[in-house]
C-alpha cells in the first residue's frame, strides 16, 4: 500500500490513483467501526478538529463531526453567523485565531473558491476542504466514487453521467477529477446556460440530451438545482427543467438494468428527480451518506499522520 504524505486535502486533482485507493482501503476499515455497537476508536485521541463553516451545511458538517468523534478527536463547530466574520474580521484572521488555540485540523467550507488553499498556505494546522465556491468538494467526490466502487466493483471504463447545474457545482468538478483519474468516462448533461465553457478540456464529454445519457451510463449522478437559477435567468422555468432534465421512472425504462442513481443531497424531489426514483431500488443516496462518514474518518486519520494500524487501537 502506498504511503500517505499529504497534510492538507484541498482538491481531488491533487490525489493520485494510488492515494485515492489508499483512502478507500482506509475507509473500508472505518466503515466497519461505524457498524459496531461501540462506534469509537482512539486514533485521534488528543487531537482537536475544528469545523469552520462559513457557508451553511447540515450533512457535510454532521458527517465530519461524527467522523472526528468516532476517531476520539475533540471537535468544535464554528458557523458563519456566530463567527467574528460577521463583525468584519477577515477569513484569514479568524483562522489564525483558531489555530492559535493549538488546533490540529481545520475543516473549512466557504462560498469563495480558493479559500482552503489560502488558509493552508498560512496555517500550520491541516486544512480539509469541505467545499469552496464552485471549485472543489473532495470528500463528497471520494464518498461518491467509493460508493460506486462498492456497488459495481470497478471503475475502469465505467460510464458516469452527471446531470444538472454543472456551472455552479463543486461536486461535479471534484467528481470529474476523481472519476477520470480512476479511468471512468464522464458525460455531463444539463442546460447549456449552466454548462461552463471549455469543460471538455477536463476530459469529459457534454451531451444535452438527457435520454441519450440515461441509455448509455452505468451511473447517473444528479445535482441539486437551486431555485435561484430561474431568477438569475439561467433557466426559463423550474417546470421546464423538471420536464426536460428531471429523472423519473418512465425515463429510466431505457436505462441499463443495474444503473445507479446518486445525488449529493439535499434533493429537490420533483425537480431533478421524482420521489419514486429517489426512493427506488437504483437509488444509493442514503448509502452515499453512510459512506461519507467512513471516507471522512479515513481522511482525518490519514492527514493526522498517525499510521498505526486500526486493529490495535480498539478500545
Amino acid at each position: 500500500m502506498s504511503e500517505w504524505k499529504k497534510t492538507n486535502l484541498l482538491d481531488l486533482q491533487d490525489l493520485s490513483k494510488e492515494e485515492i485507493d489508499l483512502v478507500f482501503e482506509t475507509a473500508k476499515s472505518f466503515k466497519e467501526v461505524s457498524a459496531r455497537e461501540v462506534k469509537k476508536v482512539p486514533a485521534l485521541r488528543g487531537k482537536t478538529v475544528v469545523m469552520l463553516f462559513f457557508e451553511t451545511s447540515t450533512r457535510t458538517r454532521t458527517s465530519f463531526e461524527l467522523a472526528a468523534k468516532r476517531l476520539s478527536a475533540d471537535t468544535i463547530n464554528i458557523a458563519a453567523s456566530s463567527s467574528a466574520l460577521s463583525k468584519g474580521e477577515s477569513v484569514l484572521d479568524t483562522a489564525r485565531n483558531i489555530e492559535a488555540m493549538n488546533v490540529d485540523m481545520i475543516v473549512v467550507r466557504h462560498r469563495s473558491s480558493g479559500i482552503p488553499g489560502m488558509l493552508s498556505e498560512n496555517l500550520k494546522a491541516s486544512v480539509i476542504n469541505a467545499g469552496d465556491g464552485c471549485r472543489s468538494h473532495p470528500t463528497q467526490a471520494l464518498l461518491d466514487i467509493f460508493t460506486i466502487k462498492e456497488k459495481l466493483g470497478r471503475m475502469e471504463g465505467l460510464k458516469v453521467g452527471i446531470v444538472g447545474d454543472i456551472l455552479h457545482s463543486r461536486v461535479a468538478r471534484s467528481n470529474i477529477w476523481g472519476l477520470t483519474t480512476l479511468g471512468a468516462q464522464v458525460t455531463l448533461c444539463g442546460p447549456s446556460t449552466l454548462m461552463p465553457v471549455d469543460i471538455e478540456k477536463m476530459g469529459v464529454t457534454v451531451n444535452y440530451n438527457v435520454d441519450e445519457v440515461v441509455r448509455e451510463v452505468d451511473v447517473l449522478m444528479l445535482l441539486r438545482l437551486q431555485k435561484e437559477r430561474q431568477q438569475d435567468n439561467f433557466l426559463p422555468s423550474i417546470r421546464e427543467y423538471a420536464k426536460e432534465f428531471g429523472i423519473n421512472s418512465s425515463r429510466l425504462k431505457q436505462a441499463k438494468k443495474d444503473m445507479l442513481i446518486m445525488h449529493p443531497g439535499p434533493t429537490n424531489r420533483g425537480v431533478e428527480l421524482s420521489a419514486d426514483v429517489a426512493d427506488g431500488e437504483r437509488s444509493v443516496i442514503l448509502e452515499q451518506v453512510t459512506n461519507g462518514v467512513a471516507i471522512r474518518m479515513a481522511i482525518l486519520y490519514l492527514l493526522s499522520g498517525t499510521h498505526k494500524s486500526i486493529e490495535t487501537e480498539q478500545e
Binding site: 477569513v91 473558491s113 488553499g117 465553457v197 478540456k201
Partner: protein, 426 residues
C-alpha cells in the same frame, strides 16, 4: 531656479535625436534645446547614457482622495506618479464623494497644487453619483477644471443617457471616457471566462461584456459625429472593432494597461487577489492583440489604471477582494521590458503611447513634446538598469501589485515637472 540637462539623448514621438544635446529649463518651460549650452547659474543634470523623454501622461489613475485616504492620497499618488516618470495624471471620479460637482473638483485641484509634484487633472463623472441616471452639469465641471468625464468603475449602463451625454459633451467640448463593461453581462464575474474560470470554479466574466459596450459606443460616436475614448481595452475583438471604427473615420481613441499586455488569466491560478482586475486578465491571444494594437496605434495610449487597495482588502478570498492593482511605479519597467526591449515598439513609439498621444487626447497642448517653448515636463530614464519589484519599495500607500518579485528593465532617474525636480533616484 533653472536646470540644465547636459548630454541628453532626446527621444520624442517623432524621432530619437542622433546627437546628444543640452536642454535649458527656465521658468517652468523648455527655454532652449541645443549643443553646448552654457550653464550660468542653472543646476546641471548630466544625462549621459540616459534617455530623455517628455514626461509621461497617464489618463487613468485612481487617487482615492477624497474618501479612501487609507488607500492613497493625492500626495502619495503624486509621489508614486513622479517616481514612475509621470508628470501629468488624470484622476478618476469614483471617490467619496464622487467628483460630480465643482466643489469636489476644486478641492482635488487645490490639494494637488499644494503637493505640487505632478500635474493632476481631475476627470469628472458623466452621470451624477455615477448612477447612470442623469448627466452631470458638464459646463460647470469643465469650468472647474475637469479635462474629461467618465463613470469609470462602471460603464454608463443606460444607452439613452450615454447617447445624450455624447451629444452634449460634443457641444461642451469635453472628452468622454468609457469604462467598457456591460455590468449585467459580466454576471458578477470575477475573472475572464475560459477554461481557467471553469477549472478554478470562479465566476466568469464573458468578454462580450466589454465588446458590447465598445461596439455600442462606436455606433453612437458614428451616429453623433462625437468622440469617445475607450478605456482599458483588453480583448482581441475590441481591438478589431476599434481598428474598423478608425478605418471608418469614427472619432474613437483607446487605451490599454501594462497588466493587459503582460499577464494572462493563468496568473489567477494562484488565487492571488492582486491578479483581480477589471476588465479581467485575458487569454494569450488577447494579450498579443493588445500588444499589436499598441504597436499599430489602434490603441492610442498606455495608461496604468493605478487602483490602490490596502492590504486588508486583499487579505480575503479572491471572489471577495476588490478589483484593481497599482501601476504607476511599474509601468515604465513593464513597457521597456515587454515592449521596447522585445522590439514590439520603438523608443519613439513608447514616447508617443505614453506622452504625446495621451497629451493630445486630453488636449494638453504644451505637453508630450521636448521642444523650445513647451512645458518643462521631462523624464530622464536609464533603459538598461535591471531591478526587482519589491513591496516595501512602493511609495504608493498600497502594495497591491501582481508584479512583486518580477525583474524589470528600465527605471526613472529624474522626473522634472514644470521645471522642478519632482523625483530623483537615490
Amino acid at each position: 531656479m533653472s536646470l540644465l540637462i547636459k548630454n541628453a539623448k532626446i527621444i520624442n514621438a517623432q524621432k530619437a535625436e542622433d546627437n546628444l544635446k543640452d536642454i535649458l529649463i527656465e521658468k517652468g518651460q523648455i527655454a532652449r534645446v541645443g549643443a553646448s549650452i552654457k550653464a550660468g547659474s542653472a543646476k546641471i543634470i548630466d544625462a549621459e547614457g540616459k534617455w530623455v523623454m517628455p514626461g509621461f501622461v497617464d489618463l487613468h489613475v485612481h487617487l482615492r482622495e477624497p474618501g479612501r485616504e487609507d488607500k492613497e492620497t493625492i500626495e502619495s499618488g503624486s509621489r508614486a506618479a513622479a517616481k514612475g516618470g509621470f508628470t501629468s495624471i488624470v484622476c478618476m471620479p469614483n471617490t467619496k464623494p464622487v467628483i460630480d460637482n465643482a466643489m469636489v473638483v476644486e478641492g482635488v485641484i487645490k490639494e494637488a497644487r499644494r503637493v505640487g509634484l505632478v500635474n493632476v487633472y481631475p476627470a469628472g463623472a458623466i452621470t451624477r453619483g455615477q448612477k447612470s441616471q442623469e448627466m452631470v452639469d458638464m459646463y460647470e465641471l469643465k469650468k472647474a477644471g475637469c479635462i474629461a468625464l467618465t463613470d469609470d468603475g462602471r460603464a454608463v449602463d443606460n444607452s439613452q443617457i450615454i447617447k445624450m451625454a455624447m451629444q452634449y459633451a460634443k457641444m461642451v467640448d469635453i472628452l468622454l471616457m468609457e469604462h467598457c463593461q456591460d455590468y449585467l453581462l459580466t454576471g458578477g464575474g470575477v475573472m475572464n471566462e475560459g477554461y481557467n474560470s471553469t477549472f478554478l470554479g470562479l465566476k466568469p466574466d464573458p468578454g462580450v461584456s466589454e465588446t458590447v459596450i465598445v461596439a455600442r459606443d462606436i455606433e453612437l460616436a458614428a451616429y453623433l459625429g462625437a468622440r469617445i475614448h475607450l478605456m482599458h481595452i483588453s480583448l482581441e475583438r475590441s481591438v478589431e472593432l476599434i481598428r474598423k471604427a478608425k478605418e471608418d473615420g469614427i472619432k474613437v481613441t483607446a487605451e490599454a494597461t501594462p497588466h493587459h499586455f503582460t499577464l494572462t488569466d493563468d496568473a489567477v491560478k494562484s488565487f492571488d487577489p492582486n491578479t483581480k482586475v477589471n476588465p479581467p486578465l485575458r487569454s494569450e491571444k488577447d494579450v498579443e492583440a493588445v500588444k499589436r494594437g499598441i504597436k499599430e496605434g489602434i490603441i492610442d495610449c498606455i495608461v496604468t489604471d493605478h487602483a490602490p487597495h490596502n492590504f486588508e482588502d486583499k487579505e480575503v478570498g479572491f471572489a471577495e477582494a476588490p478589483f484593481g492593482i497599482i501601476g504607476l511605479e511599474t509601468a515604465l519597467g513593464l513597457v521597456i521590458t515587454e515592449l521596447v526591449d522585445k522590439e514590439v515598439i520603438s523608443a519613439p513609439q513608447m514616447v508617443d503611447r505614453m506622452a504625446a498621444s495621451p497629451a493630445n487626447i486630453a488636449r494638453l497642448a504644451n505637453k508630450g513634446l521636448i521642444e523650445e517653448g513647451k512645458d518643462a515636463d521631462v523624464v530622464i530614464i536609464d533603459p538598461e538598469i535591471e531591478w526587482e519589484v519589491k513591496a516595501e519599495e512602493f511609495v504608493s500607500k498600497s502594495r497591491n501589485s501582481p508584479f512583486i518579485g518580477k525583474k524589470l528593465k528600465g527605471c526613472v532617474e529624474v522626473t522634472i515637472c514644470g521645471g522642478r525636480i519632482s523625483y530623483q533616484r537615490k
